[in-house]
C-alpha cells in the first residue's frame, strides 16, 4: 500500500515536472536557447492565477489570464532578450547569463509587488480522502492527469498535423537554412516560446493550489526541466515529458530505499548516470561526437 501511495504521489509530482519539462524541452530543442528564465515564466503564471483568484475572478478566467501572462512573458523574452543576443552571435553562455539575469529581475519584481512569502490558492481539490484501504488520493490528481493528457495531445497533434513540429526541428538544426527554404525562423522561434510557455501554465496553477508558489520557486522548476530534457533526450518532447514523470515517480518511490534527504539528489544521480551511460537520453538520436 505504501508503494501504491508513493506511486500516486509520484505521478502527481511527475505530471508537474512533465509539463514544465516539456515546455523547456520544446523551446530548447527548437531554438537551442537555454531558457533558464523558464522558471520565471512559471512563477509569473502562478502569481497571475493567484492574483486573479484573490481579486475574486472566476477560475476559468483566472486560468485564461495566467495563460496570457505566461505566453506574453515568453514572447517578450524571445523577442527582446534572446533575439538581439542571437543576432550578434551570442554564445550558449551569453544566452545563459542573460536568461539568468532575467530570472533574478523577475523574481525581485514579483517579490516587490506580491511579497516574499509563499502564496497558496485554497481549493478543496487538494484534500485527500481514503479511496481504498490505506490509499489516500486527492481529486487534484485526477485533474492533473486529465489536464496533462489533454494538453499533451493538443500540442502533439498540433506539431504533427501542422508540420510545425518539423519546422521546429529544422529550426534547431539550422535557422539560416530555414530561411533559404522560404520559412521564417523568427516566427518559428516565437511559436516555440508560445507553446513552451503555455505548457508551464497548468503546472504553475496546480502548484499554486497543491504546494504554494513563491518568487523563488522558479529555480527548482528550471532544474528539473533541464534534467528531464536531457534524460528524455534533447529534441524529444515526449521524452522530456516521460522523463519528467519518471523523475517525479522515482523521487517519491526512492525514499523506501534511501534516506529522505537524498530523495531530491536522486533525480540528479539519474541525470548523471544517463549522461554517462546513455547520453542520447531515452528517446534522443545518438549524440554526435
Amino acid at each position: 500500500m505504501l508503494f501504491l501511495q508513493l506511486l500516486a504521489s509520484g505521478i502527481q509530482t511527475g505530471i508537474l515536472y512533465a509539463l514544465t519539462a516539456a515546455g523547456f524541452a520544446l523551446i530548447f530543442g527548437a531554438t537551442k536557447i537555454f531558457h533558464v528564465a523558464h522558471g520565471a515564466t512559471f512563477v509569473i503564471a502562478g502569481y497571475a492565477f493567484y492574483e486573479c483568484i484573490q481579486l475574486g475572478m472566476w477560475w476559468p478566467w483566472a486560468t485564461l489570464v495566467s495563460f496570457v501572462m505566461a505566453i506574453l512573458a515568453g514572447i517578450l523574452m524571445a523577442v527582446f532578450i534572446y533575439r538581439p543576443i542571437q543576432r550578434s552571435e551570442g554564445s550558449f553562455f551569453t544566452v545563459f547569463v542573460a536568461a539568468f539575469g532575467v530570472s533574478i529581475a523577475v523574481q525581485s519584481l514579483i517579490q516587490y509587488f506580491f511579497g516574499r512569502g509563499s502564496v497558496t490558492v485554497s481549493s478543496s481539490l487538494t484534500m485527500a480522502s481514503e479511496v481504498i484501504e490505506g490509499l489516500y488520493l486527492a481529486p487534484i490528481l485526477a485533474v492533473a492527469i486529465g489536464v496533462s493528457i489533454v494538453l499533451f495531445s493538443l500540442v502533439v497533434l498540433f506539431l504533427e498535423k501542422k508540420n510545425a513540429g518539423l519546422g521546429l526541428r529544422a529550426l534547431s538544426e539550422n535557422p539560416g537554412l530555414l530561411e533559404a527554404f522560404g520559412l521564417n525562423a523568427k516566427n518559428l522561434t516565437v511559436l516555440a516560446f508560445v507553446i513552451g510557455s503555455a505548457l508551464v501554465v497548468p503546472a504553475a496553477i496546480l502548484t499554486s493550489i497543491s504546494i504554494g508558489i513563491q518568487p523563488s520557486s522558479g529555480s527548482k522548476v528550471m532544474l528539473i526541466s533541464l534534467a528531464a530534457t536531457i534524460v528524455g533526450g534533447i529534441g524529444s518532447l515526449k521524452g522530456a515529458a516521460l522523463a519528467g514523470l519518471l523523475l517525479g515517480i522515482i523521487e517519491n518511490l526512492v525514499i523506501t530505499v534511501v534516506d529522505t534527504q537524498w530523495s531530491e539528489a536522486v533525480s540528479f544521480f539519474i541525470l548523471f548516470a544517463f549522461i554517462m551511460f546513455r547520453p542520447s537520453g531515452m528517446f534522443g538520436a545518438p549524440v554526435k561526437r
Binding site: 508540420n163 518539423l166 526541428r169 529544422a170 539560416g176 537554412l177 530561411e179 533559404a180 522560404g182 520559412l183
Partner: protein, 244 residues
C-alpha cells in the same frame, strides 16, 4: 546583349543598380542583372567575386544598400518567405539540407513552406522523384548520413518541389561526380523546356554549365565584365575562364 526596352516584359527577376555588402565593405556596387523568363543564365566568376552574395540578396537573405529588385517587372523588397510564396526557389552553397531530418522530412518542410498539401504535394513528390530517381534509395534516411553528393541531390530536389518559376542555384556541382551533375542538369533543363522556368546558375564547372545555359555573365570583383552566349566560345571555355 544589354537589356533594351523591348526585353523588359520578358524579365523574370532583375537587379537594378544593386549594391550590397557586409558590415564595412561593399561586395558589389550598382550591379545590373536581368534574368529573363524561361532562360538559364549562367553566372561565373572567381572565388569571392560576389556571386553568392548577389543570389542571397535576390532571395532576400541579405539586405542591400541601394538599387532595386524587380520581380516580373514589379519592384519588390525581397524576403525569403515572400519569394518562396512567389514560386522562387533557392539552393544555397554547400549542404542545403537539414542533417537530422530524413530526406522525406526535408521534402515535407519544403512543401509546408510552399503551402502544398494532399494530392498536390504527392504529385510534386512524384515528379521530383522522377527527375532524381536515386532519391528513392535513401528516402527515409537522415540527410546527415548521406554522402556529400547525395545531400546535394536532396537539396536540389527539394528546390524543385514547389514547381518553381525561378530557380537560383549556387554551385550545385560542388561535391558531385560529373555524371551526377549531368543527371541533375539534364532533367532540370528538360523540365525547364517543357513548362518554362528561369534559372540563375552559379557555377565553377564552367564547361558543364555552359552546355545547358542560354546566356552567360561573368563577374569579377563585384563587377559584371562580360555578358554573352555560350556559342561565343564554341566549346572552348578556357577562354572564358581566363577572363577572371
Amino acid at each position: 546583349m544589354a537589356a533594351n526596352a523591348a526585353d523588359r516584359p520578358e524579365s523574370a527577376l532583375e537587379a537594378q543598380n544593386l549594391s550590397a555588402g557586409y558590415d564595412d565593405h561593399n561586395v558589389f556596387e550598382n550591379i545590373n542583372l536581368d534574368l529573363k523568363k524561361n532562360e538559364i543564365l549562367c553566372l561565373i566568376g572567381h572565388n569571392g567575386a560576389g556571386k553568392s552574395t548577389l543570389l542571397k540578396v535576390l532571395f532576400g537573405l541579405q539586405p542591400y544598400s541601394a538599387g532595386n529588385v524587380l520581380l516580373n517587372g514589379q519592384k519588390i523588397v525581397p524576403s525569403p518567405s515572400d519569394m518562396a510564396g512567389h514560386g522562387i526557389s533557392y539552393v544555397p552553397e554547400g549542404r542545403g539540407v537539414f542533417p537530422g531530418l530524413t530526406v522525406k522530412e526535408n521534402f515535407a518542410l519544403a512543401l509546408w513552406s510552399a503551402k502544398m498539401t494532399g494530392t498536390v504535394a504527392d504529385e510534386r513528390i512524384e515528379e521530383v522523384l522522377g527527375i532524381l530517381p536515386k532519391l528513392k534509395d535513401f528516402w527515409t534516411r537522415r540527410a546527415g548520413q548521406l554522402s556529400g553528393g547525395q545531400q546535394q541531390m536532396v537539396s536540389i530536389g527539394r528546390a524543385m518541389l514547389c514547381k518553381p518559376s525561378i530557380l537560383l542555384l549556387d554551385e550545385p556541382s560542388i561535391g558531385l561526380a560529373p555524371k551526377l551533375f549531368q543527371d541533375l542538369l539534364e532533367p532540370i533543363r528538360a523540365v525547364q523546356k517543357q513548362r518554362g522556368m528561369s534559372i540563375l546558375l552559379v557555377e565553377q564547372q564552367v564547361g558543364e554549365a555552359l552546355n545547358v545555359s542560354d546566356r552567360v555573365v561573368v563577374m569579377k570583383s563585384g563587377e559584371i565584365i562580360y555578358r554573352g552566349v555560350p556559342a561565343d566560345f564554341e566549346g572552348d571555355h578556357t577562354k572564358l575562364m581566363e577572363m577572371f
